[in-house]
């Protein structure tokens, strides 16, 4: 080693070097390839999350376990009970002899609903009087309680009207008229109101964010933990080259996860993309970049992978709760809902549901796309700036 080949022709400061950049990309790809967990992530995460959320998170309540206390025991009361079990919302699990038994069954969590039919049920129907059967609902779980309550009221109203009509027509009188104003309701985009159609497309966004965020956050922190960063910062490498070079493999992996999750949504859950697939794929790419930038930003703060993990919880939890992923943003107090606007996933979810379910195009989504692009730019610049500082 006698000659001084390189010393004279050192690159000038501030010049982007393609050689340095590709050296980093190459190294990252090798490292990712050797890391089994990183390689499994884009496959396992969509499978596990999609099946968990696709089947476990179901806000449609039916077949609520119900006990009946029939104090009347007539043809009328039996017809009334029949309406409940035929509605599909209630499953009559048994008959009890007194109110205490209903109470006990609710306490033991055996039933959620108790139906009490008063002793004078048939007489009041025959006289055309107001009848007052009682519906007891276990309100512990508000979702179940609300559905049971609403459908109970509806079923009971319809059943009593039918019984009254029957009696009136039997007596040769006129059937009771239905109210003259009648709303005809039509539900668009998800006519059967399946919660799967609401959850699964949104899950694509959440999965995409999780994969990319995790992998990128760890990528840089790992260099700090193993102190290889010390070696890197004394080389002529520029922070822009380092960050961009490290991002490339994770763009690929994150996008792979996105494609895989989208395929599960389309082919397993049978939710087709109503709108433009190319549009979805391009905005999806933008969101990968955005999540990467967030991961990068986390890694400039965290010194260990444990710290990065904890920081990630602070990103992931609000993005599950506040983005409108499961809980409707309309129901949130304005202040909390406003926080949701600071989360990129909120915008991407609207885009996802817009394209997949509504089939709308850019003319309705440009605002959200613009916001997403803005977030990406701001977070990425912040990450690069902070990273440059953290090297000092």
């Amino acid at each position: 080693m006698r000659s001084r080949e390189t010393a004279g022709k050192a690159p000038r400061r501030g010049l982007f070097s393609w050689k340095r950049f590709t050296a980093i990309v190459k190294k990252e790809f090798i490292q990712v390839r050797r890391d089994r967990i990183s390689m499994m992530m884009p496959i396992m995460m969509p499978i596990v999350m999609m099946f968990l959320f696709g089947y476990a998170v179901n806000t449609e309540v039916d077949q609520v376990p119900t006990a009946v206390l029939d104090l009347n025991r007539t043809a009328e009361s039996r017809a009334f009970i029949e309406h409940f079990s035929a509605s599909g919302y209630f499953r009559i699990d048994g008959y009890v002899g007194n109110e205490q038994e209903i109470q006990d069954a609710v306490n033991a969590d055996v039933i959620k609903v108790g139906l009490i039919i008063p002793a004078d049920f048939d007489r009041k129907i025959q006289r055309g009087e107001v009848v007052a059967p009682q519906l007891i609902v276990d309100g512990t779980d508000p979702t179940t309680a609300r559905t049971a309550f609403n459908s109970g009221m509806l079923v009971s109203e319809m059943a009593t009207r039918e019984l009254l009509n029957e009696r009136l027509s039997r007596m040769g009188g006129l059937a009771l008229k239905s109210p003259s104003v009648r709303v005809t309701a039509k539900i668009w985009f998800n006519p059967e109101m399946q919660s799967v159609r609401f959850t699964i497309p949104a899950l694509i966004g959440l999965i995409l964010q999780n994969i990319t965020l995790m992998l990128t956050a760890f990528a840089l922190v790992r260099e700090k933990e193993r102190s290889t960063i010390e070696q890197l910062i004394v080389t002529p490498i520029r922070s822009f080259e380092l960050i961009m070079g490290k991002l490339i493999p994770y763009v690929a992996i994150g996008y792979l996860g996105f494609l895989f999750a989208l395929s599960i949504c389309m082919f397993w859950f049978g939710i087709p993309v109503a709108g433009s697939l190319p549009l979805l794929l391009s905005i999806g790419f933008l969101f990968v970049l955005c999540s990467l930038a967030m991961g990068m930003l986390i890694s400039t703060f965290a010194r260990t992978q444990l710290q990065a993990m904890m920081a990630m919880v602070f990103v992931l939890l609000p993005s599950i709760l506040l983005s409108g992923f499961i809980f409707p943003r309309e129901a949130m107090p304005p202040f909390i809902a406003a926080i949701g606007y600071a989360i990129p996933l909120t915008y991407f979810l609207e885009i996802l549901r817009g394209i997949v379910l509504k089939g709308v195009g850019m003319q309705f989504l440009w605002k959200n796309t613009l916001m997403l692009g803005g977030f990406t730019l701001v977070i990425l610049s912040l990450a690069i700036l902070r990273f440059r500082k953290s090297l000092d």
Binding site: E5, D35, Q231
Partner: protein
Amino acid sequence: MNVDAKPAVYGTNVQYAIEVDHLTKRFGTFTAVDDISFQIPKGCIFGFLGPNGSGKSTTIRMLCGVLHPSSGIAHIMGHDVVKETEIVRQSLGYMSQRFSLYEDLTVDENLDFYAGVYGLSKEVRNRRKEDLILMANLEGKEKKLAGTLSGGWKQRLALGCALIHKPELLILDEPTAGVDPVSRRVFWEIIHALSRQGITILVTTHYMDEAESCDLVSFILDGRIIDHDTPQNLIAGEAGARNLEDVFIHRVEQVTGRAVSGTFKEMRFIHEK
């Protein structure tokens, strides 16, 4: 203290590899490096000695252009470390005590990566790799993951990575910490061989036997350089000093005003007194 040490052996017309002029680094109210100045001639092995926390690493980080000095100037191979950081970085190789290798990359891939980072062409890279693998006794281990190598091999691979771009100045931060005695000898043989090829070497170490084989040493204490001379002159100039370790301990005692146990043999009986 400002010592202009230029041992006679190097002559007077030699250009300096490192020139440090009134360099100071403050972190808030704490002064880590306090107005130090020294010059290191080219081709010299320079031992930078001092207790932990004395300002060695801070000085090194400023020389590498990683930390900005609060005041003062430093030149590496005639280039200002603040204004010409990129050129300075290209002309120096650095190896930290933790052998910052990528343990999930092979020997080959580690060398390839640093070659790429320094912008070497494929031909140059392959030629150098051959040389370095020979130098580090890593033949036959090219395809092994760096993480599976034992201490001495890791250390020499890290040295190889630091040398891939043929730096004119090699900075070694405690390169032999945690390495067995045989690997330590092998490593210093390589250091002396590199020095004979004209590479200037700055090395920090706590092993005084290593330091005695340097051409020039500096003692740094509390951010100040309190000695800067050849090891021979330092030992000769210190009354009752048998070796550099004695000099080092005397200096620390003088500055801190606290006595340090004389030898390790005496310590054996401390509890029985």
